[in-house]
């Protein structure tokens, strides 16, 4: 499990790491919107260049981004194959009996693959350079204005941060239970269908029980320390928007504008 890349924070020291999480989230949103502007190759080239520069600035390194991409590889191949078979527009490139490939199919697939690639790199950049706790602080602040229409932004942020906090704990717990059941002769890899169901049950039931137990303990611990979500709370860590953050947000907003321009012109 320790080689799981998706969503893991990398403690490095860079200009991107020290950005305000709110600014980073906004930048990510702008760039994600930008991906879906149909600005053709020029648009994707611009976005790829931006992502490339940001990856360099963040010091996390391209190999890390590629590692994050790995789980998506299967999906990309799958999409590629489906598109090849389904899209029958544009110029015919290749034909063998009933099987034919059109250039449109290749373009379409490339678009999708590039979009996926961009989305994963951008979100990985955010999670790799922002501590989970800062991320939730950022989300809480950004959702703040919606409080007026009854959105419990603090509760949502607290839920997200508790969920994030318990991911490693639950992974550890799962490994512990798997080991204990393996000692009782459970084989998690092989076995007949019914045996497999039994073995999964022997993992799921204790995991749920312990998760509920943890939830209860945590709730009491929070209450014992006077936690009340509706009360006004102060913060130990205050977020501060700096010049670089503002520049980055304006830049990302301009990217959208620029790409819209390109899309209209092309």
């Amino acid at each position: 499990m320790s080689n799981m890349v998706l969503g893991r924070y990398l403690p490095l020291d860079s200009k991107i790491h020290s950005m305000d999480p709110r600014a980073k989230i906004m930048c990510m949103l702008f760039l994600l919107i930008a991906i879906f502007i149909p600005a053709g190759y020029v648009g994707y080239a611009i976005l790829l260049a931006i992502v490339f520069v940001v990856v360099l600035m963040s010091k996390i390194g391209l190999p890390y981004i590629f590692k994050a991409m790995k789980p998506m590889l299967f999906m990309m191949i799958f999409l590629f194959v489906i598109n090849m078979l389904v899209i029958k527009r544009g110029n015919l490139l290749f034909e063998l009996g009933w099987f034919s490939i059109y250039d449109e199919a290749i373009f379409q697939t490339l678009y999708i693959v590039i979009r996926l690639l961009l989305m994963i790199s951008i979100t990985t950049l955010l999670t790799a350079t922002t501590k989970p706790l800062d991320l939730t602080l950022g989300i809480e602040d950004l959702l703040g204005p919606f409080q007026k229409i009854g959105l419990p932004s603090h509760i949502i942020a607290m839920m997200i941060s508790i969920a994030l906090r318990f991911i490693p704990t639950l992974i550890e717990e799962t490994q512990r239970i798997m080991k204990a059941q393996a000692s009782r002769g459970v084989d998690f890899e092989e076995g007949k269908f019914m045996e497999k169901i039994r073995s999964i049950l022997s993992l799921i039931v204790p995991l749920f029980i312990s998760a509920f137990q943890r939830a209860e303990d945590l709730a009491y611990a929070m209450e014992a320390r006077g936690y009340a979500p509706e009360n006004k709370r102060t913060r130990y860590k205050l977020l501060k928007l700096r010049a670089f953050d503002v520049v980055a947000m304006i830049f990302c907003a301009l990217v959208i504008a620029g790409l819209v321009g390109v899309a209209i012109l092309v």
Partner: protein, 285 residues
């Protein structure tokens, strides 16, 4: 037949940027039929060591020989189940492994996994539940309705049910009240003397080490700092002191008596014999 570790090392997260060595070049023999304690500070590698005994962890270097079943680094294991049946490992807080609807089927779960027929597994479940002190009225109850100590008994019964030759216990009395802990230790003693099981127990409780175990292995920073029989381990005042082991009460008492000028019998490791030796000395004067 015995358990032998040969130049065994284990490194967690090997081949990643964050490797951490847990065990370093362990050489060790544990004889069949002994009751061995493994002690050491948190993080000294106790749990890592015992998890090699049923191949939950594989050595990153060196090998383990468990009664003839050899596990080598970088070698695929065949017939893993036969090893796991031979070595019953009870984890710390084993009650979280319970999952079945009734206690009977939870205890019979292990034997069934090892290919024992249902009716025989159930008979075995009755037998071991009796052994851990839970009568027939418990068979059809849910394991989740029990108290903490009872849950632990059921969990241990679930390991005993497939009759392992070697019983490995990782801090079996952690979190139990003194009475419950004592009953638990009496159970292990019975398994050792009456059923001839080889028992390896990770523990922090020196009283248990002194009162129940034959041998003691002290781990320090992933290496064996000391292995000896229990009595000479506690007799050796210096080792106990230098190796930073909190001695059992009786050993501590003897040391204080010696400091006050009493000639205390070295072999006295329980209160009556200590009192007797002191009486003898006083009458002598």
């Amino acid at each position: 037949m015995s358990i032998t570790f040969k130049n065994l090392s284990h490194t967690y997260n090997e081949k990643t940027p964050f490797p951490s060595a847990a065990l370093n070049n362990i050489n060790l023999t544990i004889e069949e039929g002994t009751f061995t304690a493994i002690i050491g500070e948190t993080g000294s590698g106790k749990s890592t060591l015992v998890q090699h005994l049923n191949a939950l962890l594989l050595p990153t270097a060196g090998e383990v020989d468990v009664n003839g079943f050899v596990i080598k680094a970088d070698e695929k294991i065949k017939n893993l189940k036969s090893l796991r049946r031979k070595v019953g490992l009870v984890f710390q807080f084993p009650e979280y492994q319970l999952f079945e609807e009734t206690i009977e089927s939870d205890v019979a779960f292990g034997p069934k996994n090892f290919g024992i027929e249902e009716s025989i597994a159930k008979a075995k479940a009755r037998e071991v539940l009796e052994l851990v002190g839970l009568d027939e009225s418990y068979l059809n109850r849910s394991p989740f309705d029990l108290s903490g100590g009872q849950k632990r008994r059921v969990a241990i019964a679930g390991i005993l049910a497939f009759d392992p030759e070697i019983l490995v216990l990782d801090e079996p009395t952690a979190g139990l009240d003194p009475q419950g802990a004592k009953e638990m230790m009496e159970l292990f003693k019975k398994l050792h003397t009456d059923y001839g099981k080889t028992i390896i127990m990770v523990t922090h409780d020196m009283e248990h080490v002194l009162n129940y175990c034959d041998d003691v292995i002290l781990l320090k920073n992933g290496e064996i700092a000391m292995k000896s029989d229990v009595k000479s381990f506690f007799k050796d005042d210096l080792t106990v002191h230098e190796l930073d082991v909190q001695p059992p009460h009786i050993v501590d008492l003897k040391r204080r008596l010696t400091a006050c000028g009493f000639a205390v019998d070295e072999e006295a490791f329980d209160l009556p014999s200590l009192v007797a030796s002191l009486k003898g000395e006083l009458q002598h004067e």
